[in-house]
Structure formats: structure tokens, C-alpha cells
């Protein structure tokens, strides 16, 4: 029996046990149950010398439960990972897909529900193959700390691992499709010939997107990468004037100075784009006077 089937059976039994116990109180269960099933997947089943591939830290969350983006928003905490790698192997920083807004008692958090994969680039050193050409295994381990929440938050701690064959050529994993899907959900650089700028006023910041924006999809949101720069609970106002879009966001009430740069994700109906622009003071004569104000 493969480990996947075994896990499914274990989880089904655990669910059955919970049902049989018949506890009607949500809270004690919340404290005991984990609410997230973690696994480590990879693009290849091999770790061929001198190659690089994506690994995925997969969270399968119970319905209604969520984990957090690198900027969690008003509350919460992003997952953290400590890698355990064979000598010379390297794992890159976690890459997060574009998050969703999560309303939480008047606050707004950024995170994920359902099935989410965080990516890390695994670099295999040139000497990973033994000089005798023997087939071996590279054990990749990860200690993961995360916070999983649904009304209440439960800290989670898990160890996940993966065994990759060394001394072999590259061989695609059956999980490669999942990894490709996760790659497609990563925020992308803005297309060339799209211009973006940001100006600051006492209470707001205005992001202007112009240029060849066809194919980007309709702009629907802006999510900040840095904490405490804009008010998370105030949805941006988006004003489209021909090929130019204006996105008005509310400056954080706790911000006592203007940020030098505005970093975040421009969310469109089809994709998410990375934005990192310098912030300049607004000119006095501005065409943007017609943009409705936040009430």
C-alpha cells in the first residue's frame, strides 16, 4: 500500500473517531485536530547533479481553515520552514502564490484556504552523484511551523520529507503537474510596456497603471507586500479611464511617514503581478481630482 492511501485511511479513521466521540463543542476539537495536512512534493523523483528543480510544500486545509501569505495582513503569521538538506544542496526562499482577502472580526488578513502549494527552488550540487555512479538517495527534510485559523488559531508544527534518487538522470515526478499549477499561480512580473507609478497624498496613495495593458485582465485589487503601509480593511477604489487605470488605496493610519516604495500585488481577473515602485508626492494640478474619494 502506498503512503498516500495509508494517509487517506488514517485521516478517514481519525474523522470517524471524531464523529463517534460526538463532541458537540467546536473548541476542544479545534485545539486537538490539526486542520492542515502537509506534504512535500517535487518536480522530479531524481536529484541529478548540477540541476535545479521546484519543490512544493503542500497544505491541504480542512474546509473554512486558512493559513497566511508572507504579509499576513492585520493578524496571523506566515508559515516558516527550516530545511534539512544533504551537503551542498540548497533550498531557495519560499515563493507564495497570490493570496485572498480573509475577513476577520473587522480586520483583513491575506491567506489561503483549500489546497495551497508554496514553492522553493532546490539546487543540486554538481557533485551530487557519487563518482562511482552509484544510485543513492538524497533525503530532503523540512520542519514547518505554521498558524492555521478559522475563528480561532492553532499553531502547527510538522516535519515533512522527500527522498530523491541520486546518480540518475532527471526523471519527472507524478507530482510535476501540481508543481506546474503552483508555478502558474505565482505572481508574475508586469508585462513589458506596462508603466506603473505611485503618488502619495496625506491620506491616500494613488497607483497609476498605463501602457499596453491589454491581456492583463481587469484590475480588481491591490494587496500590499509590506505590513502597515495601507489600511488592509479598506478596499482599493479602482477607476478605469481608457487605457489608464487608477487605484486609490488608503494609507495606514499608523504610518507616520511616507514609504519610499510601494510593494505589492496587482490582482487582475486573470493573474497577479508583482509591483515595486517608488512613491512620489502628488503634484498639485492633477487629473485625478475626478477620482471619487473614500468616504
Amino acid at each position: 500500500m502506498n503512503s498516500g492511501a495509508l494517509k487517506t485511511i488514517t485521516r478517514t479513521m481519525a474523522a470517524l473517531l471524531l464523529t463517534l466521540c460526538g463532541s458537540s463543542s467546536a473548541y476542544p476539537q479545534a485545539a486537538k485536530a490539526q486542520h492542515a495536512h502537509l506534504s512535500l512534493i517535487s518536480e522530479q523523483t531524481s536529484a541529478a547533479s548540477g540541476t535545479a528543480q521546484w519543490m512544493g510544500l503542500r497544505f491541504q486545509l480542512d474546509p473554512g481553515w486558512h493559513i497566511y501569505w508572507s504579509n499576513p495582513g492585520d493578524s496571523g503569521e506566515p508559515p516558516k520552514v527550516a530545511w534539512h538538506l544533504p551537503g551542498g544542496f540548497q533550498a531557495g526562499d519560499l515563493q507564495f502564490p497570490a493570496p485572498h482577502r480573509i475577513a476577520d472580526h473587522g480586520l483583513t488578513d491575506y491567506g489561503y484556504e483549500g489546497d495551497v502549494i508554496l514553492l522553493s527552488k532546490l539546487t543540486v550540487p554538481a557533485g551530487a552523484t557519487s563518482n562511482k555512479g552509484e544510485i543513492g538517495a538524497a533525503e530532503i527534510g523540512a520542519d514547518v511551523r505554521y498558524l492555521v485559523c478559522r475563528e480561532v488559531c492553532v499553531p502547527g508544527k510538522d516535519h515533512v520529507s522527500l527522498s530523491l534518487a541520486t546518480g540518475q538522470n532527471e526523471k519527472l515526478s507524478p507530482r510535476a503537474e501540481l508543481i506546474r499549477g503552483a508555478q502558474a499561480r505565482l505572481p508574475q512580473p508586469l508585462p513589458s510596456h506596462v508603466y506603473i507609478s505611485a503618488t502619495v497624498r496625506p491620506e491616500q496613495m494613488l497607483i497609476t497603471v498605463s501602457g499596453t495593458t491589454t491581456g492583463m485582465g481587469q484590475i480588481i485589487d491591490f494587496i500590499p507586500s509590506d505590513a502597515q503601509v495601507i489600511e488592509n480593511s479598506v478596499r482599493p477604489l479602482i477607476f478605469v479611464d481608457g487605457a489608464v487605470s487608477h487605484i486609490r488605496v488608503k494609507k495606514s493610519e499608523q504610518l507616520d511617514h511616507s514609504p519610499a516604495r510601494l510593494r505589492g500585488l496587482l490582482i487582475t481577473s486573470t493573474k497577479a503581478y508583482n509591483v515595486d515602485v517608488p512613491v512620489t508626492p502628488a503634484k498639485k494640478t492633477s487629473q485625478n481630482a475626478s477620482v471619487p474619494k473614500h468616504s
Binding site: Y27, D74, S75, G76, E77, K80, D104, H105, G106, L107, T108, D109, R145, L147, C149, E151, V152, C153, V154, P155, Q218, I219, I220, D221, A227, Q228, E231, S233, V234, R235, P236, L237, I238, F239, V240, D241, G242, A243, E253, Q254, D256, P292, H294, S295
Partner: protein, 201 residues
């Protein structure tokens, strides 16, 4: 080239902010609250003293980080010994995580050796909304003149891991030290971290 001039106004659901957060430098809004021993406290009665407000939820992993390690109690003891008034404020609504009756809170404080001046029970969230308390913990410091001099996180390690307390820069202690020495507070506003305050919806 045809340009279709569209003025599409995409105003997505605009959330209105229910309460304006108190800003550092502002006069701290006055309040009256009942503590877990049934005593009433009025903020303005403590003029002439430094007052710390600590938002609390005993089930929140971030609160647990600072209580199970003894960090919060150490701070409470240290600063109340130096004449600071320390209010633990509980704004969880009945039925929500962290809501406690007076007896439950007294039992908790005894078990945890908590040492605030008092624990204020705020089940309607009135004090919480007045200050715009967002998370547990969320810390505020008011100076003897009644002005807010600190608003934000307890320290600079925004995690729920108790291992991160060692080596963290404690903003509350730094602000109190500076203010007591007559110096301006260097870091007066930070992003509070933790669980959301479980207000009644």
C-alpha cells in the same frame, strides 16, 4: 486608432472603518471599566501615572507565547513595581474565544501568576473599539499627562513561537524606559501582531 473612452467606475465594496484608531500624540480617550474583582476604574483617575493597556485572549497562541513563557507576567511585575498602572483588557464577546467571567479570569491570573493592576472585562468591546485594539496582544501606553505615547506590538518578533522572546526588542519596556527618563519614545507606533480581537460581530 480607435479609442473607446470608457469611464468605468469599479467601486468594489467599500468597507467603512468603524472606529478611528487612536494616534500617538493624541489625548487618550477616557473610559470606565469594571475589573474581575468588581471594582470600577476610570482612566482619568490615573492622571499623573503611566498606564499600560494590554489586550488579552487566553486561548490565542500569540497571547500564550507571552504568558506560558512568563514574559508578560515579568513585564507586569517589573513595571507595576515601578509605579506603572497596568490594565489587561479582555474584549472577547460572550461565546467567542478568550471570553471569561470574572471568576474564570481570577482563576487564570492566579494560576499564571499574572500581576497586572487589574483585568478589565470588556465583553461589549467598548474600550477595544475606543482604542482601535486589533490584536491580542495589542499594547498601548499613556503618559502621566494622559497622552498616548505608544501604540502597537509588544515586541519586534511577530510570531507565536515562545523561542522568539529571547533576543526580541520589547517595545513596551523601551518606550517606558525612555518616557520615564524624559526622552521621546523612539519607536512609538508599530504594527500590532497576534490574533484578531474576538469582538461581537
Amino acid at each position: 486608432m480607435k479609442q473607446i473612452r470608457t469611464s468605468v467606475f469599479v467601486a468594489l465594496a467599500l468597507f467603512t472603518i468603524t472606529a478611528l484608531a487612536v494616534k500617538v500624540g493624541d489625548q487618550a480617550p477616557d473610559f470606565t471599566g469594571a475589573d474581575s474583582h468588581g471594582q470600577t476604574h476610570k482612566l482619568s483617575d490615573y492622571k499623573g501615572k503611566f498606564v499600560v493597556l494590554e489586550w488579552h485572549n487566553n486561548g490565542c497562541p500569540f497571547t500564550k507565547k507571552h504568558y506560558e513563557s512568563g514574559n508578560m507576567q515579568r513585564l507586569q511585575k517589573e513595571w507595576t513595581d515601578k509605579g506603572v498602572v497596568w490594565f489587561t483588557v479582555i474584549s472577547s464577546a460572550p461565546g467567542a474565544q478568550g471570553y471569561v467571567t470574572a471568576d474564570q479570569e481570577n482563576e487564570y491570573m492566579q494560576k499564571m501568576h499574572a500581576a497586572p493592576t487589574a483585568a478589565l472585562l470588556d465583553p461589549k468591546g467598548e474600550i477595544g473599539h475606543l482604542y482601535g485594539a486589533k490584536t491580542t496582544p495589542h499594547m498601548f501606553i499613556i503618559n502621566p499627562q494622559g497622552q498616548l505615547i505608544y501604540n502597537g506590538a509588544i515586541d519586534d518578533k511577530s510570531t507565536s513561537d515562545p523561542a522568539d522572546i529571547t533576543g526580541a526588542k520589547n517595545y513596551v519596556s523601551e518606550a517606558l524606559q525612555e518616557a520615564k527618563a524624559g526622552q521621546p519614545v523612539a519607536v512609538a507606533t508599530t504594527r500590532p501582531y497576534g490574533c484578531s480581537v474576538k469582538y461581537a460581530d
